[in-house]
């Protein structure tokens, strides 16, 4: 017998165990296979198939399908590929009917909707009416007696016998083993919003766990024939998983012409546009090479589909040019560049095409495109409409992460939200537990030093630890779209996300395993920044011709980059990156490409070595066998593809194998597969007689690409956008900084960008209801704060405000209130932000607040029907707020101050404290200074200790600081961004970049 009807934790919040653990457990219990049937989904299909392969089990694919509203459930087991297709269609139909209001279409009934899609499926059910109905409809059905013989089982058995249907024993399990009971109750509590004590008391029989064959045999000793029937039924399900090959998006253009021909024609046409009519030999040679490979691998249509998506043909047949930036390895393709789907010349920047496509590559490549963040949704809507029924977005399986697990468990234990946040907010994002228990690791966290983890916290943490890694819900992938030639529900079940878009039930790895080619259409804030800056510049009658714009050749821009003055510039604004730019001091495009790739978590040592070599330090190739492969990067492995190139040069890997190694490094579950490549690499090197010590060193260097790392085409493509941003910042700072803040989502807070704008000599003007637009606006030396930055203003109010202002300017404060009808919080926020100062003769905000109260009183007073004709009575003589109160309120609603720096209001009693700008003269000295904490980055030392790099600022500049482990341990609990501190430490300089190594910190108190 095989256990049928086993739910994995992909039956969201209804089961506890992963497919891998279930398979392991099934193996331990001596089963030859099992049927994993999650509730209404196939989320875990690929995990299940992989685990079955690993354990040598026979997989039976299936799913439970529930009827919305009635609680009836059937189990469908797949017998063949038709059954699989039907199951996908059934699940899709079920989700369409049971989706959120607005998305749901029609109804779904198990009695009527199963039969048309039942071929190739075996249906198990525990409802006698359904059994009879299925028999009538000719559906292949069996009675599901459950895991224990009971009264319902007896009836089912009798009915099945009467109908001539089989009756089978099913595990009907939601847990891998009995020990998971507490976790199961916690999941119930999370799902139903109950307390853990309620869930424990109400635990029902649905909480079965997977038991051994003997257990079922003993339980069903009264009906021994059922065990045999079960085995027989399981044997009829021979389907072991779908195999679609590579599923490419279909190209619908060309009017019958071959895609390869059309691609060639379009590529040459584009090349002439890019390089002029006289294409040089390198261009033609490269184009020919690429076209040959693309055609041989059958990807011609794919390029054309991507082009159609990126520059879609409008109804008039003309293509709409969108501002884009190619990301990922696709930017290495000249064909892509000529089709205008990437933005850097791969010949000029020596980009390696094989990184993108090579004959040995078995998996489909993906072309990823960035659009401006606010245009991306339009692109997606177009794609989903153009390919309706054939396109859907990829989903993300969202698992309980550390913070979410702690939060949900603590809520089930009834702890107040504030108490939970005090703990969870202080857990660093990158916290990894290691081998110790969650409680041990949290207790040792310096940032939680002053937190109370007394009971019931130990119990909460112990349970939360089990919850980590359990899937909770589905979200939409930021931009992955799959387009299929047949309807997409033939390949994978589709459901609808809350915002109404169709999503497939697999995330990107699952889609890749299934062979579905994904196109990433992502949103990029900086493209919006560049678009808005250029629009603002052009509106000022300055013409910036983008066709001929070469920001990377502009000397002033290069100097700014070399000086690290790139805050706000895409991709190169992080503190680490700006420090590196300063140390390098070159500011040229090629070096920027290297710099933006070399900064990755495990490569600190390489960064130092890069700077040394850049400044003329001597170096030798990694080893003689590599030759000049890495000469461009001073002998260092910088890009992802360097791993492949070294593997080819040193160990004789084929391009395909080398690409496989490169790819596996960025995967989450790499350990097993990496072991295989390691063996291959060491064996290959040994064959070529490379010194084993060198081989080990090389391997370690490759391992520094663990986690995230970048390929050169990607970095080059991004560096182009970085340079555009740097150019705009250097030459049009007001327009640029306004666009950075208006588009939001940069590395720093609005507060930090405002400070930077002030340091650039720009004047920040208060928001003003008479002149401010929703977004920030910059012109010459001034930036006007946008209404978007006044917290709490609703969209409806903003629209009313703009509409009314468009009709006529506001005459007085009463006129403004009457015409815009703000809510209480909106009016107060506007007053505190200074947006209504212009509507009072002296700009007295106390009087404005009084006027607002008067207006509200008049509104409430039913007798004053003539409200709209009267003027507000004058306010009594109230003095305006004192400076500190005014600024405190301004800070509360804006998050920054327009005319001051908050540090001015802190106790400046510390004698001899310096300003950041003065530190350059104090290199090597111990100094004290008052500074405002902006942001921080927690890292781990080689010995596993936590330390942090923090960015501070004052009115004169920004300062990067280092908190070594000991200092970090003793001060982490008091560090909070958006507060002032008194820092003491040593000023250090490295190739001209200043940092402060802090040895003491004290919070500043306002005076």
């Amino acid at each position: 017998m095989l256990p049928l009807r086993v739910r994995s934790y992909y039956s969201l919040l209804q089961a506890t165990t992963s497919p891998a653990a279930l398979c392991r457990r099934a193996k331990e219990l001596g089963y030859a296979g099992l049927a994993m049937t999650d509730r209404d989904n196939l989320y875990g299909l690929w995990d299940f198939l992989k685990a079955c392969r690993r354990e040598g089990l026979r997989p039976i694919v299936g799913a439970e399908i529930s009827e919305p509203g009635s609680g009836k459930i059937i189990t469908c087991l797949v017998q063949n590929i038709d059954g699989y297709t039907n199951l996908c269609a059934l699940l899709t139909r079920r989700h369409k009917a049971g989706g959120l209001a607005g998305n749901s279409a029609g109804s779904f009934s198990l009695a009527d909707d199963v039969a048309p899609l039942a071929s190739g499926l075996l249906v198990l059910c525990r409802d006698t009416d359904l059994l009879r109905r299925y028999k009538e409809q000719g559906v292949e059905a069996a009675a599901d007696l459950g895991a224990r013989p009971d009264a319902l089982g007896r009836t089912l058995r009798a009915v099945a016998g009467g109908l001539g249907l089989a009756a089978v024993v099913t595990a009907d399990s939601a847990m891998g083993e009995e020990n998971d009971r507490q976790l199961y109750c916690l999941l119930q509590a999370v799902r139903d919003g109950k307390t853990i004590s309620q869930a424990m008391r109400q635990e029902t029989a649905a909480g079965n766990w997977l038991a051994g064959k003997e257990v079922y045999r003993t339980r069903f000793a009264v009906w021994p024939e059922m065990m045999e029937a079960t085995a027989k039924l399981a044997a009829s399900c021979t389907f072991t998983g779908p195999d679609f090959g590579v599923v490419m998006p279909p190209w619908r253009g060309g009017d019958g012409r071959q895609p390869a021909l059309v691609l060639r024609q379009k590529a040459y046409l584009g090349a002439r546009h890019r390089y002029g009519d006289d294409l040089g030999e390198p261009v033609v040679e490269r184009l020919e090479h690429e076209l040959k490979v693309i055609e041989a691998m059958g990807f011609s249509a794919y390029f054309l589909v991507v082009r159609d998506i990126v520059h879609r043909k409008a109804a008039d047949g003309r293509r709409k040019k969108r501002r884009i930036c190619g990301r990922g390895s696709g930017a290495a393709s000249l064909v892509a560049y000529c089709l205008d789907i990437t933005n850097v010349c791969p010949i000029k920047y020596n980009l390696y095409f094989e990184r993108f496509l090579n004959p040995g590559r078995t998996d489909p490549p993906d072309i990823d495109i960035d659009f401006s963040w606010d245009e991306r949704d339009e692109v997606l809507t177009d794609v989903l409409r153009d390919y309706q029924g054939h396109a859907a977005m990829v989903c993300n399986h969202v698992f309980f992460q550390l913070r979410m697990a702690i939060r949900e468990t603590a809520k089930a234990f009834g702890l107040p939200g504030g108490e939970i946040s005090r703990v969870t907010k202080r857990i660093p994002w990158l916290h990894a537990g290691g081998t110790e228990s969650l409680q041990q690791s949290l207790v040792s966290l310096p940032s939680l030093r002053d937190q109370d983890l007394s009971p019931p916290w130990p119990e909460i943490l112990a349970l939360a630890e089990k919850l980590i890694g359990v899937p909770r819900y589905l979200s939409v992938h930021p931009g992955g779209v799959v387009i299929t030639p047949k309807p997409i529900s033939c390949y994978v079940p589709v459901e609808w996300a809350a915002k109404g878009v169709p999503i497939i039930q697999w995330e990107k790895d699952g889609a890749e395993e299934a062979g579905l080619v994904k196109i990433d259409l992502l949103g990029n804030r900086s493209l919006g920044v560049i678009r808005d800056s250029i629009a603002a510049i052009n509106a000022d009658n300055i013409c910036l011709d983008e066709e001929s714009w070469q920001p990377e050749d502009d000397a002033a821009t290069r100097m700014a980059v070399a000086d690290g003055a790139t805050m706000g510039c895409f991709y190169i604004e992080s503190p680490a990156m700006r420090l590196l730019e300063k140390k390098a001091g070159t500011g040229d495009f090629e070096q920027l490409v290297i710099q933006s790739s070399i900064i990755r978590p495990a490569a600190n040592a390489f960064v130092r070595e890069y700077v040394r070599r850049l400044h003329g330090g001597t170096w030798q190739p990694l080893c003689p066998e590599i030759g000049d492969v890495l000469d461009d990067t001073f002998g260092l492995m910088v890009y992802q593809e360097d791993v492949s190139r070294v593997a080819v040069a040193l160990a004789g890997f084929s391009h395909g194998e080398a690409d496989g190694l490169r790819k596996v490094l960025s995967k989450k579950d790499k350990i097993l597969r990496l072991e295989h490549y390691k063996t291959m690499f060491f064996a290959g090197c040994a064959r070529r007689h490379v010194d084993p010590v060198e081989v080990e060193r090389m391997w370690q260097m490759m391992m520094s690409f663990d986690g995230y790392s970048f390929c050169k085409p990607h970095s080059a493509s991004y560096a182009r956008v970085s340079f555009q941003a740097a150019y705009l910042k250097r030459h049009y700072p007001a327009e640029f900084m306004a666009a950075v803040i208006a588009n939001q989502g940069g590395y720093y807070s609005t507060f930090a960008y405002v400070s930077e704008a002030k340091r650039l000599g720009l004047q920040i003007l208060h928001p003003d209801v008479q002149t401010s637009t929703i977004r920030w606006a910059g012109k010459k030396e001034r930036i006007r704060v946008g209404l978007q930055s006044v917290h709490g203003l609703s969209d409806g109010f903003l629209q009313r405000l703009l509409l009314e202002r468009g009709r006529e300017h506001f005459g007085d404060i009463g006129d403004f209130f009457r015409r815009t009808q703000p809510a209480d919080n909106e009016a107060r926020a506007l007053i505190h932000a200074g947006a209504l100062d212009g509507l009072h003769p002296e700009g007295n905000r106390t009087a404005l607040l009084w006027q607002w109260a008067s207006f509200q009183r008049l509104l409430q007073d039913k007798r004053r029907l003539s409200l709209f004709q009267v003027r507000l009575p004058p306010a009594p003589p109230l003095s305006p707020p004192d400076l500190k109160s005014r600024l405190r309120r301004e800070y509360a609603v804006l998050g920054f101050l327009c005319d001051h720096h908050p540090l001015q209001f802190f106790n400046q009693q510390h004698k001899g404290a310096l300003k950041v700008a003065a530190l350059a003269e104090r290199i090597g000295q111990r100094v004290q200074l008052a500074a405002w904490l902006l942001t921080g980055k927690l890292v781990s030392t080689r010995t596993g200790e936590a330390m942090e790099f923090l960015t501070f600022e004052d009115e004169t500049g920004q300062l990067e600081t280092t908190f070594f482990p000991e200092v970090y341990r003793s001060h982490a609990h008091m560090l909070q961004s958006g507060r002032g501190y008194l820092l003491t430490g040593m000023v250090e300089a490295d190739f001209g970049a200043l940092t402060l190594t802090v040895d003491a910190v004290r919070p500043l108190h306002s005076c």
Binding site: P416, E419, A853, S854, R857, P876
Partner: protein, 401 residues
């Protein structure tokens, strides 16, 4: 000192023992005077502060703050478990001292606050300030407690004066000087203002009581609506409210339980409600009253409070029906998962129990009720004799309420 007081003026004395529980503890153990003191349940892991000394307050400890946080802030503090019965006893002793001077005494629940209306007692006990001095002297000698005392023409003025001199001292506001006395004082000393109102007053830069008094009633109507009357009067020191004696029988019965460790366990909460019902029922029966409405007040650990009620037409004093009503109210009130810090049961809409029997009552139901009544009666007898905790129903919480 007493010249300014004429008989037609009201004279209200306010006695206020700052940090009453701490003061009482310090009387019983004089060593506690040397160090900051925090009073909170000690056995519980999630206890909150019940009361604290002035020194601990100065270091940031507040009532209701988690004890662990309080002990971290004020590391040197001595910790003591609350002895509520002792504080009640001290209140009673203080009250006894005051009862010699006036029948009109208003006081809180073990909080050390007393208003004494001594209007017209001049001939009997001498000028009001003398009473203040005398009571303090006696209380200091007999109880070892040093109360603040203040004298004003209303509760409001006396209260403001007491807030002004806290933690020790005395203050006399002469009749007619109320407005002058109040004018320079910061607005937060004025009693009866909500946090929202204080915020509004700050926004309008009305930082002193005098600034508030500078606005007329119509102006105050603009931001404060119907509260303008109170603010207008209070800012001028006008307060006509009476000093009320102890609550009369006709009002309500309230029983409260604070969980030492906050909880969201259903069984535990039901147990506590059963215990509260038995206590309230006992009181009702003792008073020969019935309640027509039962309310449950839940205070959550995050400070949120919910009140819900259930009522019946006929009124009851029997535990069974009271319990049914209380559980119905609890079900309406308890809608969150957050732990509960305290639960209060309030029986109101009280009326005298009618001894008239129902004319058409069903015999069987009557028999059941009759048996129930007998059991309850027997339990009440036992309770009266041996104390309330001696007997109860099985589900009820057996600890101290």
């Amino acid at each position: 000192m007493a010249e300014g007081f004429r008989l037609r003026e009201r004279a209200v004395l306010h006695f206020n023992v700052a940090d009453f529980a701490v003061a009482v503890e310090r009387v019983s153990d004089s060593r506690l005077r040397q160090r900051p003191l925090i009073i909170a349940p000690l056995q519980a892991t999630r206890a909150v502060v019940y009361d604290m000394s002035e020194e601990a307050y100065g270091e940031g400890v507040r009532k209701g703050m988690p004890l662990r946080q309080a002990t971290r802030i004020c590391r040197g503090a001595e910790l003591l478990a609350p002895r509520v019965s002792l504080y009640h006893k001290a209140m009673q002793a203080f009250l006894k001292e005051l009862q010699g001077y006036s029948p009109l005494i208003e006081y809180g629940r073990a909080d050390g606050h007393f208003f004494v209306d001594v209007t017209g007692t001049h001939r009997l006990y001498g000028p009001a300030p003398d009473v203040g001095w005398r009571v303090r002297r006696h209380v200091r000698t007999s109880l070892g407690i040093n109360p603040i005392w203040t004298l004003g023409t209303s509760k409001l003025v006396a209260k403001v004066a007491s807030r002004l001199v806290k933690p020790v001292g005395e203050y006399i506001v002469t009749a007619g000087d109320e407005a002058i006395f109040l004018a320079p004082l910061p607005i937060h000393l004025l009693p009866g203002l909500s946090a929202n109102e204080l915020l509004k007053l700050q926004e309008f830069r009305l930082t002193t009581i005098g600034a508030l008094a500078g606005l007329d009633r119509d102006q105050l109507m603009v931001p404060f609506g119907s509260r303008c009357d109170y603010l207008h009067a209070a800012s001028r020191g006008v307060d006509d409210s009476r000093v009320c004696g102890p609550a009369a029988d006709g009002e309500s019965i309230a029983c409260e339980h604070s969980f030492v460790d906050d909880t969201n366990d259903e069984q535990q909460l039901h147990g506590v409600v059963a215990a509260l019902v038995s206590r309230a029922g006992f009181q009702l029966r003792t008073r020969q009253q019935v309640a027509r409405r039962v309310g449950i007040w839940l205070r959550y650990s995050d400070g949120g409070q919910v009140v819900r009620q259930a009522s019946c037409k006929t009124g009851t004093s029997g535990d069974v029906l009271l319990q049914t009503l209380a559980l119905a109210a609890l079900q309406r009130a308890w809608t969150r998962r957050t732990r509960i810090r305290s639960c209060c049961l309030v029986c109101d809409r009280l009326q005298r129990r009618s001894s008239q029997l129902s004319l058409f009552a069903e015999v069987e139901a009557e028999n059941g009720q009759c048996r129930q009544k007998q059991v309850t009666g027997a339990m009440d007898t036992l309770r009266r004799r041996f104390g309330h905790g001696v007997i109860g129903v099985g589900r009820q919480y057996s600890g101290n309420l």
